[in-house]
Amino acid sequence: MTGEATRFSFLSLLRHGAGKTWARQWRDARPKASYDVVIVGAGGHGLATAYYLAKEYGIRDIAVLDKGWLGGGNTGRNTTIIRSNYLRPESAALYEHALTLWENLSRELNYNVMYSARGVLMLAHNHHDVQVFKRHVHANRLQGIDNEWLTPAAAKAFCPPLHIGPDARYPVLGAALQRRGGVARHDAVAWGYARAASAMGVDIIQNCAVTGIVRDVTGAAVGVETTRGPIGAARIGVVAAGHTSVLMAMAGVRMPLESFPLQALVSEPVKPVMPCVVMSNTVHAYISQSDKGELVIGAGTDAYTSYSQAGGLHIACETLEAICEMFPRFRRLRMLRNWGGIVDTTPDRSPIIGLTPVPGLFVNCGWGTGGFKATPGSGHIFAATLALGEPHPIAAPFSLDRFATGRLIDEAAAAAVAH
């Protein structure tokens, strides 16, 4: 069943203001016996993939499966930061493709994803940081991506709560600013893609865990076993973040991935105080303020692999110590909640997007600690890859076989930390 979603407009707002309740925005579908494409994982990346498959390639016989609820994994657990100031040309092309899509996404989906280009400020605390960030600024400018170098005073002018005094434990020697960077509402991204995909006939099937990948005599993947029965599929796209290794093992494919808990936390809501996103790689902390007023703070990963979705308390405490050094005025803020998500990291800290050794089985994973920002671009190029059966040109360098050829895209060395 295909149903047109309500078109949101000033008129529809007026109508609903008069007392009419909003209808469900997407169908909670039951699984059919088979589909042209089955996508495993109903997070932002999986839903975006389904949306672009339906919209740009006319493939509408699609199921998006999730073991939990839509957007309940890392899509609902990240710190919502968007930027494209990556060093390597392959990465810059990928993340800039996403940023370009972000800029028009609310209009494209007729759903407010609250993309806010409030600027991402990356602080340099030592001589090495200064050199690395200036290199990023120059590389980005050559790639046609906005990024500029600010003096400490200019950084403070852009972000008034920042402490740049000489007594700072982590002195600010300057900062790189990407003005087009910012944040978006993470849940709205999942909801917006789900609503638009569902309206084009895509089945979104929640509480449906994949327990096996079915292969025919030639070895090709032809379907999945799930907790809601078997589902046939001409093509399968695994977009399962931290659980990708587990799913790919069902098809006998070993992955260059390790899964770690990554934590974030929010403070009690306060009046507007943080005008932008501030990131510090050296002390490993990033912070912004949500429209509800909560400070949204990202911490680091645990040292060891885990699927616990919790993370050690000492990791969050170290981050808060750093935040309080950079922003002394936040010392007395109380933290409201903290949580963890399971991120799948690759050895070069770049994602894997493309074909696998199993015909019919495609994978989009390895986004590690920084996948949210790529959501529209990731879905867009993975949809092309699934539809055409060959990697989209932007996806091509991010192939799984780069770990055999050695053509790594080493953002691990470029960023030196999680990103």
């Binding site: 659980h243 290794s245 587990v246 093992a249 070993r254 992955m255 260059p256 991935l257 390790e258 899964s259 040292a303 060891y304 692999t305 885990s306 699927y307 616990s308 050690g312 308390l313 000492h314 050895p347 770990f403 055999a404 050829t405 050695g406």
Partner: protein, 89 residues
């Protein structure tokens, strides 16, 4: 924070230790004879299981020694730790 039983020093807090990833990875004796895929596999492919994981740790801020740890990656519960050379159940 985990409490990790070092086989020599007994239970100590996690921040005394350094994680070393999947245990039992053996470097091919003659790398030149290994295919690109085989070498890439040695360098990069990891089990990354959901459940029982056999892993290497080092008691860096303690006795400094390496050991093997069997941990469940869902509960983070440590089943056992073993000195090098000991059989892992």
């Amino acid at each position: 924070m985990l409490r990790i039983p070092c086989p020599w020093c007994g239970p100590r807090p996690e921040n005394e230790f350094r994680y070393g990833g999947q245990a039992g990875l053996i470097r091919p004796a003659n790398p030149a004879a290994v295919s690109d895929a085989g070498w890439g596999g040695y360098l990069y492919l990891r089990a990354n299981p959901r459940g029982r994981h056999v892993e290497r740790w080092r008691h860096l801020h303690g006795c400094g020694r390496f050991f093997t740890c069997v941990r469940d990656t869902v509960t983070d519960r440590i089943a056992s730790t073993h000195k090098p050379g000991e059989a892992v159940p």
